[in-house]
Symmetry: C2
Subunit: 456 residues, 2 copies
C-alpha cells in the first residue's frame, strides 16, 4: 500500500498520540521508500521512535532510503546493538555510501561495529575513485562454479539468496576468481536439473572494469537491457556487480548535473526545498560572477563604437534582439551536441560532419530569420518606433542576424567537441558561455557592417 496524503496524516497522528501498536500495524505493508518520505515530515526527536516501531528488516530498508542527514540523526540515537543490526542488513554498496557521507566520529562507530571481514571489504571499496564502477558496485552476488549442476546451483542460490542484492544473474568464476561465464535464473529454470553449468553458461560476458566511469557503466546497462553487469579488475577477476537500480540513480544524477551545468550552476545534491539558501547562492554565484565579468568585453566593444551609436541611435534598439537570437541559436546547437556527446552518439572524428550539418541548418535558420526581420522592421518597427529606419539600416540588421546565427551555430557545435576532446566536461560549454562569446561576435559584426554600409 502506498502512503498517500491521507494515510500519511493518519500515520503522523498515530505517532503523535503514541499509538505505536496501531502505527506499526499500519506501516507493516507500506513500501520502505514511502516510510522514508514520512521522516521528512516529522520532527527529529521522533525519528528513533518511528524507526523502532518498524519490523527489523523493513527498518533497515527504510534506513537505506533516508537522506544522509537523517541517517546521522538515527545512528546517533542507536545503541551499538541497533547499529550492528542495521549494518547486518545493509548491502556492501550501501554501507560504503554511508561511510562516505558520515562525519569521522560516526564512521569510527560504524567500523567498530562491523565484522572484521566487512571492515576489510568497506576499506577496499572506499579505495575506488569517486565516479568509478568500483565505487558503486556491490560485492554481494551469486558466484557459481563451472562443474556444478543446475540442481546444485539452485541449492546454492536458495542458501544465499537472502543476502544477495540480485540473484537473477549468476556469475561463473574459475578457481582464481576469473570471470568465465554468466547464467540467468531464467535460463537455469529452462535447463535440465542435471545439466552442467559449463554447458549452459554464456561464456562471452559483457563486463566493465573497476576504474570505468560509472556513467559508462549505466549506459552499458541501458544499452544491453541487462539487470546487472559484472565488474572485473585488471586481471579479469570478478570483484563485484552493478545492478540496474544503481544504474538508474547514476543516470538521473547525471541528467540533473547536466541541467545544472548547462544553466550556469554548480550541481546541488539535495532536493530543492531542503537545500539551504546559502548553498543555492554558492551554487549559482560563481558562474554569474564569471559571466558578468566576461561581459566586460561586450561593454568594451560598444564603447569603442560610441560615435557610431551617437550618430545612429536606432542601431541600439536592435542590440537586444541580435544578442538574444544569437544566444538562442548557439545554445540550440551546443545543447544538441553536448547531449549527443554524453549519449555517445557523436565523437571527435565526426566534427567535420557536424560542422557541415550545422552550417546548413544555420543557413536555413539565418535566411528565415533575416527575411522575417526585414519584413518586421518595415511593417512593425518603422511604424511603431523609428520613422527614420532606412533600407540600409534594415539590411545591416538582417545581414548581422544571418552572420550571428552562423557563428553561434558553429561555436555552439565546435566548442563542446573541443572541450570534450581536451578531457573536460562539455556541459560547462553550454548556453551561458556560448552566449557570452556570441554576444561579442554579434556586436563586432554589427558595428563592422554599420561602419561599412552606413558610412559612420
Amino acid at each position: 500500500m502506498e502512503l498517500d496524503e491521507f494515510s500519511l496524516e493518519n500515520a503522523k497522528r498515530l505517532l503523535d498520540e503514541k499509538k505505536y501498536a496501531d502505527l506499526r500495524k499500519m506501516l507493516m505493508d507500506v513500501p520502505a521508500a514511502d516510510i522514508a518520505e514520512m521522516f521528512e515530515e516529522i520532527p527529529k526527536n521522533q525519528f528513533a521512535i518511528l524507526y523502532r516501531i518498524l519490523p527489523k528488516e523493513l527498518a533497515a530498508d527504510v534506513f537505506v532510503e533516508l537522506d544522509p542527514d537523517f541517517q546521522k540523526v538515527l545512528i546517533e540515537a542507536f545503541s551499538d546493538k541497533e547499529l550492528r543490526e542495521v549494518l547486518d542488513e545493509l548491502y556492501m554498496d550501501d554501507t560504503v555510501d554511508l561511510v562516505e557521507e558520515m562525519p569521522a566520529n560516526v564512521v569510527k562507530r560504524i567500523l567498530a561495529n562491523s565484522s572484521a571481514e566487512d571492515r576489510k571489504t568497506v576499506n577496499e571499496l572506499l579505495k575506488y575513485p569517486e565516479d568509478s564502477a568500483g565505487s558503486i558496485m556491490t560485492t554481494e552476488f551469486v558466484r557459481l562454479k563451472e562443474d556444478m549442476t543446475v540442481r546444485e546451483a539452485f541449492a546454492l542460490i536458495r542458501k544465499v539468496a537472502i543476502d544477495k542484492e540480485t540473484i537473477y544473474t549468476c556469475y561463473v568464476t574459475d578457481n582464481r576468481s576469473h570471470l568465465i561465464g554468466m547464467v540467468t535464473v531464467k535460463y537455469l529454470l529452462l535447463s535440465d536439473y542435471e545439466a552442467k553449468i559449463k554447458d549452459i553458461m554464456q561464456d562471452n560476458v559483457i563486463s566493465v572494469k573497476t576504474l570505468d566511469d560509472k556513467e559508462d557503466v549505466a549506459a552499458t546497462i541501458s544499452k544491453y537491457d541487462v539487470l546487472a553487469l559484472p565488474v572485473v579488475d585488471e586481471e579479469n577477476r570478478l570483484v563485484g556487480i552493478v545492478t540496474v537500480d544503481d544504474a538508474i540513480d547514476v543516470m538521473q544524477d547525471e541528467a540533473e548535473e547536466d541541467f545544472a551545468k548547462m544553466n550556469a550552476m554548480a550541481p546541488v545534491e539535495t532536493p530543492y526545498l531542503r537545500t539551504p539558501v546559502f548553498s543555492l547562492w554558492r551554487s549559482r554565484i560563481i558562474w554569474l560572477l564569471l559571466l558578468m565579468v566576461s561581459a566586460t568585453f561586450t561593454g568594451m566593444i560598444i564603447s569603442s563604437f560610441e560615435d557610431a551609436l551617437r550618430a545612429q541611435v536606432v542601431l541600439t534598439a536592435f542590440i537586444p534582439m541580435l544578442m538574444d537570437t544569437g544566444g538562442n541559436s548557439g545554445s540550440q546547437a551546443s545543447v544538441t551536441i553536448i547531449r549527443a556527446i554524453s549519449l555517445g552518439e557523436v565523437e571527435f572524428a565526426d566534427i567535420v560532419k557536424i560542422i557541415w550539418k550545422e552550417i546548413r541548418v544555420a543557413f536555413l535558420c539565418g535566411i528565415s530569420l533575416g527575411v522575417v526581420t526585414f519584413g518586421k522592421i518595415f511593417l512593425v518597427d518603422k511604424l511603431l518606433m523609428h520613422r527614420e529606419i532606412t533600407v540600409p539600416v534594415a539590411l545591416v540588421v538582417c545581414l548581422t542576424l544571418c552572420i550571428t546565427v552562423l557563428c553561434a551555430k558553429l561555436l555552439g557545435c565546435t566548442l563542446p567537441m573541443i572541450v570534450a576532446k581536451l578531457g573536460f566536461d562539455p556541459a560547462v560549454m553550454a548556453s551561458p558561455f556560448i552566449t557570452t562569446i556570441v554576444d561579442a561576435v554579434s556586436l563586432l559584426v554589427y558595428f563592422a557592417f554599420a561602419t561599412m554600409f552606413l558610412r559612420l
Copy 2:
C-alpha cells in the same frame, strides 16, 4: 563479446567479401544491440543479407533494436514466412511500437501475418493514448493463481518462461483477472515447495493504471527499485506490466525532451547524425522566430529612451551585461524549479516557500554581483573605456543589476509553477522565454533609474 571498432571493420569486410559462414560464426556471440549498430554502417542493400546470416532468435533481438527506418527496409525485403517468424519472436509491446512506426501498407502486411489473437491484442494496445502506461506495457507476464503451490508455480514458470519478457516478478490474479498479489522468483526460491502461493504472496501490490502518464510509471519503478510494475484497468484487472528497461527508455527520452524544450527546440527523436538538416531546422526555427519577434518589445523600450541614451552613451555599454546576467539568473531559477516539478519534489502548494527562498537567494546574489560590479566599474571599465563614468552612473548600473536579479529569480520560479498548475509543460517556460521577459524588465528598470538619478 562486444563489437569494437576493429571487429566491426572485420565484420563489414567479411560481409563485403561474402564470407557468410565466417561472419555468422563471428556474430553468434555478439550482443544484439551491437549488431544493430552495425546496420548503421552498411548500405541498405546488404541489410537483408546480414539479417539472414544471423540465427533466428538473435535476428529477432537485433530487429527490435533497429531504427524504424531500418526495420521498414527489412520488412520490405522479408517473405511472409520471414515476417511471421520475426513477429512470433517479438514481445507485444515491441509489435505495437512497430505498428505505430510503420506506414499503412507495411502495417497491413504485419497484421495479415499475425495470429488472430495477436491482432486482437495489438488493436487493444493501440487504443491506449500516447504517453500512457497502457501504451508502453507488455501483455506477456507470468500469471499465478493463489491456490497453486510453489512447486506448481515453478512448473508453470518453466513452461512459459521462454515467451515472457520477465519471469522474475509473478502476479497473482483471481478468477476474474483482478490483481490480488505478487511474488518474486527470489521469494519463491526461498519458500517451501509445498507452500501455497496465497500464503507467501505479498498482497499489497504497488500498481499503476492503464491511463497513468508513462513518466509517472517510470518514476514509480525508480522510486521503489522494482524490476516491473503491474498495470491494471479501472476495475483493478491486471492487463499488463511495464518492465524496468522500458522505464529507463522513458526516463532518457523525458530528459532529452526537457533539454530540447529548455533550450528553445522542439524535441527530435532520431540521433543527431541521422537527423536530416531540414528536421533540425524545423525543430529550431519556430522558437527562434517567436523569441526574435518578442524581442520587439526590448527594441521599443530602447527606442523610447533614445534621448537618454544620446545624452549618456556610456549607458549603452552596460546593456549586454545587465541582460545576460538577468537571463542567467532567471534560467538558474527556472531550470531548478522545472526539474523539481518534473521530479515531483515541489508542487503548487509550495509556491510561497519557493518564492521566499528565491527572494533570499536573489538578495545574496544581487548584493554580491552589485558590489563586484561597482568595484569593476572603477577598477576596470573607467580605466579601459570611459573616463567619464561617474559614481551616479555606477550606482544606477549596480542598483539595476540587483533589481534585475531579483525580478529574474522571481519570474524564473513563479512562471514555471503557474504554467504547470495550468496543466501545460513547464519546460517551455525555461531560459529563452524567461530571458526575453527579463530583458524587457531590466531595460525598464535601467532607464527608470537613469532618468531618476541622472536627471536625463
